[in-house]
């Protein structure tokens, strides 16, 4: 039985009935009067100088209303982090990857727009291109960005403690190299937007985005508009997973075209363009050296990482930091050295994707810990528990584990999967493996250096009727945040969930950094709670005065006012309410004072009751370079156990079962937390077994569709048993913290470790396609017989 009235329960989401009936409006479902259709001219070459662009034929095509290139767009540089603004809306001197944007057209229909694009004559001078880290770093390699010699986009060097000294004192040292592959988020709804510039110079951009706020700022900055005249509104979004967490060329082009034509302009990516745009998970090559004592105590980690970054920075400057910093926990680790390099090359840029830089690093390290456990003859679970941090511990790189239910998660999955009965007792070809992971509950600092609040919320009570309107610029992208915030508002106000109406995703409602780094439940949640409590206090203040009852003796619960003292006579207020509602047949007659009546009385006294809330984390983290990346007010954590069957003759892996425990602090909406856990597992499973973006030798994505880029289907997913652990995070609203990304961390290594358990072969490269597994088995056999 929960101590809460609304939160910490299973709630039916406020948005799903519309989604179940096809009523929910996504960007491509929208049209506007006079709307034009936009199309992009994108580079067919991976690296080339632009000699000339002739748009005359395109401009003269009947039905074409505007053609824009860098000449019209200007050359304001943008990107994700101000430290690495390295993109312009359109290429002006050269193109850097197949798909780089050169021009855009707006026309009366899509057919005309595409025809016009084909009529734009571009003369290229092809340049030698580089497609791998090795090629890009070679002496004399063509340089993508002049101010980044050697194509080194970013490099990180950090050391905590003294790693060499510590390694010298270790009993066992293990070194492995691990590689994943570039991934695609494969959200089912491609990016799309409609931009509408009106006669007063106000620009409204509707977009399938995770971050209306960052998009608003980027549009204003790049197109040189006053930011107060730019409004970004997100309709329902068909997921994003990080790729939609920054402004994209579609959005900027559509805005520019609308400014030029004075008409709304719609633009979409088709699925192939989604792949060619990229901005998803980097390919990482991790080399880790871990030193332990023979009793299993982890002493030191030396870590070298190369990121295949693609043509632009995107989130990459944060990624290269996260790849190192997120190994500071959840185990006690006094000595950690990290050297990371993000390398440019002529492929689409990589960015942040669910779990950001932490996923591949975690996979490498959790596999290595299993290898260490095996060599020391300690159980993998025991090794984890032995080294586990507890709530209140701080990592060597200053990440504060204000709550950490890691031990509870491990024990939950151990019991839930019947680990003890299975480990070491399964027949050949079947295996069981475990892993742990954790992630930030919101980045400690905004992407742009600022004192801004991370979220502001307004809760306005209707002047009549007792409904609470919640306005938040946060982004519901499928994770359930709208419902979570409605529940928090209801709980904090003391009213029923059905008495809340929430609107979100509109920059006019306030500031919200959006749905990325798993921040919204904790950060926006705090702001919602504060705003709701503010509204509640205003209502109770009026009641206190009207009824001469101290505020402390009043409470609101289930949309009813409760008094902690006897004999409070509120008939005066009730009569007043009835008189204002003559002819209505549902005026409260007997029973407790309702919130409906109380809020009406409060309005009559004060005018509109508006509560405001805001949230900004305290100063977090250490004083070293890059300290901000990895800091967070809280960390969600997770343990998973995977059970697999491997067909050794073909290399095919079947994941039979996943047991997953996640510490989310406190589950606001239990069903949504489970949903995020299950979705994370499916994404991790896909990355572990199938997913890889493939290129030809000219920089084109070969498998730019959902048939050849293979995400798990219903037939590939096992049953997932989810267990929620609640450690009550002191820095979270009602104790809540994240689930959306922490939950993906253990999946890949749990499967890696289970596969080893099944066939006795370690695989250090993803994806574990049947061919890769088969080859590894053959190699191991050869090794045994030679």
């Amino acid at each position: 039985m929960s101590e809460y009235t609304v939160i910490n329960s299973r709630a039916v989401r406020v948005d799903t009935p519309d989604k179940a009936t096809g009523k929910a409006v996504f960007i491509d479902d929208m049209t506007m009067p006079g709307m034009l259709y936009g199309a992009l001219l994108q580079s067919p070459l991976a690296h080339a100088r632009i000699v000339s662009i002739d748009t005359s034929k395109a401009r003269n095509l009947p039905g074409v209303k505007s053609v824009v290139t860098a000449e019209e767009a200007g050359l304001v540089k943008y990107g994700v982090s101000p430290a690495r603004y390295d993109e312009t809306l359109f290429c002006h001197e050269k193109v850097r990857y197949v798909g780089d944007d050169i021009a855009a057209v707006a026309a009366v229909d899509m057919e005309t727009a595409l025809k016009a694009v084909s009529l734009i004559d571009v003369v290229y001078e092809e340049l030698p291109a580089v497609f791998t880290i090795e090629e890009a770093m070679k002496a004399g390699a063509p340089v993508l960005h002049d101010n980044y010699p050697g194509n080194i986009c970013a490099e990180v060097h950090s050391e905590f403690g003294n790693v060499e000294e510590a390694l010298a004192n270790c009993d066992l040292i293990k070194t492995t190299t691990f590689k994943n592959k570039r991934q695609d988020a494969a959200f089912i709804e491609p990016q799309g937007c409609i931009a509408s510039y009106d006669l007063s110079g106000n620009l409204t951009l509707y977009s399938s985005t995770q971050v209306p706020h960052y998009v608003q700022r980027t549009v204003a900055m790049v197109l040189k508009l006053p930011v107060g005249k730019v409004r970004v509104i997100k309709p329902y979004v068909g997921a994003g997973f990080g790729i939609k967490a920054s402004a994209n060329p579609l959005e900027l082009s559509a805005c520019l075209l609308s400014m030029k034509t004075g008409k709304p302009v719609k633009m979409n990516y088709n699925r192939e363009q989604v792949f060619q745009y990229g901005r998803a998970r980097h390919q990482f090559t991790h080399t880790m050296t871990t030193g332990v004592k023979k009793d299993g105590t982890i002493i030191a980690l030396k870590h070298l990482c190369y990121l295949d970054g693609g043509a632009y920075s995107s989130f990459g400057i944060a990624t290269v930091y996260y790849a190192g910093s997120l190994l500071g926990g959840p185990y006690k680790l006094p000595n950690m050295k990290y050297d990371g390099y993000r390398i440019y090359n002529n492929k689409p840029a990589c960015g942040a994707m669910r779990g950001h830089g932490g996923v591949a690093a975690r996979a490498c390290w959790e596999q290595q810990l299993d290898m260490i456990a095996e060599e020391l003859k300690i159980s993998p679970i025991e090794l984890r528990l032995k080294n586990m941090m507890v709530a209140g511990d701080v990592t060597c790189n200053d990440l504060n584990m204000s709550s950490l239910g890691m031990k509870e998660c491990i024990e939950a999955v151990k019991d839930g999967s019947e680990w003890t009965a299975k480990k070491g007792k399964l027949p050949k070809g079947k295996g069981i493996g475990m892993a742990c992971g954790f992630f930030v509950s919101g980045a400690g600092y905004p992407i742009y250096r600022s004192d801004t609040f991370h979220g502001t919320v307004i809760v306005k009570l209707t002047e009549d009727g007792g409904t609470a309107l919640v306005y938040t610029a946060s982004a519901e992208i499928g994770q359930g945040s709208d419902t979570t915030f409605a529940m928090i508002a209801a709980e904090a106000l003391g009213i029923r969930l059905e008495d809340v109406r929430l609107e979100s995703g509109d920059t006019d409602f306030g500031v919200d950094l959006g749905a990325y780094s798993s921040r919204q439940t904790l950060m926006t949640g705090h702001a919602v709670k504060e705003a709701a409590e503010d509204a509640r206090r205003q209502v109770l203040e009026v009641l206190a005065k009207e009824l001469n009852v101290p505020i402390e003796n009043m409470d609101i619960k289930n949309s009813l006012v409760e008094f902690k003292q006897e004999n409070v006579d509120f008939t005066g207020l009730r009569t007043r309410y009835s008189k204002e509602h003559r002819g209505w047949n549902d005026n409260p007659a007997d029973g407790p004072l309702t919130f409906r009546e109380a809020s009406r009385i409060a309005y009559l006294s004060k005018g509109s009751i508006v509560g405001t809330g805001k949230y900004k984390p305290p100063e977090l983290g250490g004083k070293y370079k890059g300290a901000t990346v990895g800091t967070s007010p809280a960390y969600g954590c997770s343990a998973q156990i995977a059970e697999v069957t491997v067909d050794e003759e073909t290399g095919q892996i079947t994941v039979d079962r996943i047991t997953d425990a996640h510490d989310c602090g406190l589950a606001i909406n239990v069903t949504s937390v489970e949903g995020q856990m299950e979705g994370s597992v499916s994404m991790g499973l896909g990355e572990a077994l199938f997913e890889e973006v493939k290129f030809d030798n000219k920089g084109h994505v070969i498998n730019a569709d959902l048939a050849e880029y293979k995400i798990p289907t219903m037939l590939d997913m096992p049953q997932i048993k989810t267990i929620i652990v609640e450690s009550n995070e002191p820095n979270g609203p009602f104790g809540a913290k994240e689930v959306g990304e922490g939950a993906i961390m253990p999946t890949i290594p749990a499967i890696l470790n289970a596969v080893y358990d099944a066939i006795g072969v370690r695989i250090h490269e993803l994806p574990m396609t049947p061919e890769r597994v088969y080859l590894a088995i053959q190699e191991a056999k050869k090794g045994k017989t030679s």
Binding site: P17, V237, R271, S680, L706, M714, T722
Partner: protein, 154 residues
Amino acid sequence: MKKLINLTINDQHYEVAVEPNQTLVDLLRYQLGLTGTKKGCEMGDCGSCTVILDGKAVNSCLVLALQADGRSIQTIEGLETGEGLHPVQEAFVEKGAIQCGFCSSGMILSAKNLLDQKSNPSETEIRRALAGNLCRCTGYQKIIEAVKSVPQAN
């Protein structure tokens, strides 16, 4: 040149002029305002454009509008009744089987089509029947629970 076709959508008769190279999904979404059917890939890989065509669940992005002449189609808009949600829709909502919602129209129609042909399907049968509908949000777990929970006549 456009051709006039007659078709029944959600028990309602339509007479529309269509181009030969117009797909059924584009006809539904842009000409008839039935935007519940979604476009995720346009290649028949994701299933978000699923409609029920003469009793069979198909990718409407692979069907020409002209091929639908004289035929009967059910889209997501046709599932609700005067009394409210269809039991499959109700189950999806109750069980939390919808997150971003973009695959949901197609998923619900495929599920409904399965249940129309087989009552009380096993988990394996559900997974097989819905294998053409990709979801990136849910891991399919609650979708299967939802389909299993739909009340069935015995």
